[in-house]
């Protein structure tokens, strides 16, 4: 059982995501982006290449500068989202990535580089990102705190 957050947890999610063909249809499909994820003090880079989420790695915060966009929330908010997904099989109406981004004054998605063209990848691939986190419903998760 992988601990959240950790590289192992993201690898478990990747395995589910990469082996479910339904994630490539219905508005999913080829995706090419480097997603940064900041969960409290922990930073991760998740790589999407075509039909595959090809890598997940825990990194230093400064490494997030390379990300096209960074999803950042406090640990408690991430935990709330992951638990919601686990409970419902996918994010409910109040816990989708876009809802969290617009519903929070501080937003969810931002970048270190400020290039809106790259930040817009969060919108261009939003369904894929949603599928990715929804895939965590099939991952056994142990929370760090």
């Amino acid at each position: 059982m992988a601990r959240f957050p950790s590289t192992e947890w993201f690898d478990d999610v990747r395995k589910v995501f990469n082996t479910d063909e339904s994630y490539q249809g219905g508005g999913g499909g080829a995706c090419n982006a480097l997603m940064g994820v900041k969960i409290g003090a922990h930073s991760f880079l998740i790589t999407f290449e075509g039909a595959e989420c090809s890598a997940a790695a825990q990194v230093q915060e400064s490494d997030l500068e390379a990300a096209d966009f960074i999803l950042e929330m406090a640990y408690s908010d991430w935990r709330d989202m992951v638990e919601n997904i686990a409970q419902n099989g996918r994010a409910d109406l109040h816990h989708t990535l876009n809802t969290l981004d617009l519903g929070r004054p501080e937003g969810l998605s931002h970048s270190a580089h400020g290039d809106q063209y790259r930040e817009d990848l969060f919108f261009r691939y939003n369904q894929t990102m949603q599928y990715f986190f929804d895939a965590s419903a099939r991952v056994k998760t142990q929370f760090a705190e």
Partner: protein
Amino acid sequence: MSEAKLPHTESHATAGAGLDLGWMSRQGEWGTRAVAGKQGLTLADIQIGSYGEPDEKSDNQTGRPRGAVARANSYRIGGYTVMSKSEIWLDNASFLYEEALQRQWSSATDVPWHTIKPLPDDIEEAQCQLATFFTEVEFVAGDVPARWIASTTPDFFEPRQCLLAQVMDESRHMDVFRKRALANGGGLMQTSGGTAGVVGSIDLARDFTEMSSRLHISGEGAVLTMFRMGELMAYNEAEKAMYRLCAQDEARHVAFGVMHMRYMSETAPQRREEIQCYLDEAERQILAGSQNPAGTQTDSSEALAILLGGGKAKYDEGVRKLIAIRRRQVQEYIKRVRSTGFGDRFDNGRSSLVDTFDHHVAA
């Protein structure tokens, strides 16, 4: 275009059968072997050798594929008005087109329509008013690229392919919003009329960059934010899916506009002032006008406020949230324009966008 010469062989000399075979000696660069990568055989993979980037100017008036050998007696079909690369090019058109192909969806089967349940009357009316508006807006973005496709030489087929994908996307958007309006006890409501006839509107552009600045950067950028808000204020999974999928498509169209503008910024300094004028006009007409439902109070902005607030009785709360949307919209537009290389307009006082936005906030 250089023609590859076929080495003379016995088999050709004795071809018989009344075959001429002269065409075999008149083919383009030979020996091309594009290799499929991890994402299949993409347009980028075949941009090799003389089949790669087009020349700055096209002389193709017969519609032949770029790199094909011209015939002296081939019929001209052209009359293309876009014959210069600098008028339409963007560096990642192939990539955006392949992405569009891969990320298509069906409004009939990828939206969980069965999750829509009856809503309070004011909410349903607001959703239907918004759906009516979006159906009307998407019509603009379906028609206008189509006209430009027919006017552009096929030597610049990569941007044309993107525009063809956009026409398909917009058709799907027209369809999905009509479906939403008619799926839950409502119906179509009143049109905005805001997509017709105003001087400087998207329809009236006589230059591709002019059109793209208004359509892709300004118009679709604003609608992208609206779609994201639609996902936020959705009352069911169907609306969530509908708005999210539309937003993805819209973001791709915006990306086209940004990359084209960026190309113009880098390669056509002589057009800089001209493009700034397009942005001046677009900002006045689109972001602050009636075409923007989150602009001055319109039927659609009132509908948005009702949806955001959670009903007619919470209208004021909805308006406050709507203002926050406008802020977000403006911020993203500014950052996109900066990304294109035309951001100096916000630093030197040229853009009145921020003033316009503050004026409406205070009203």
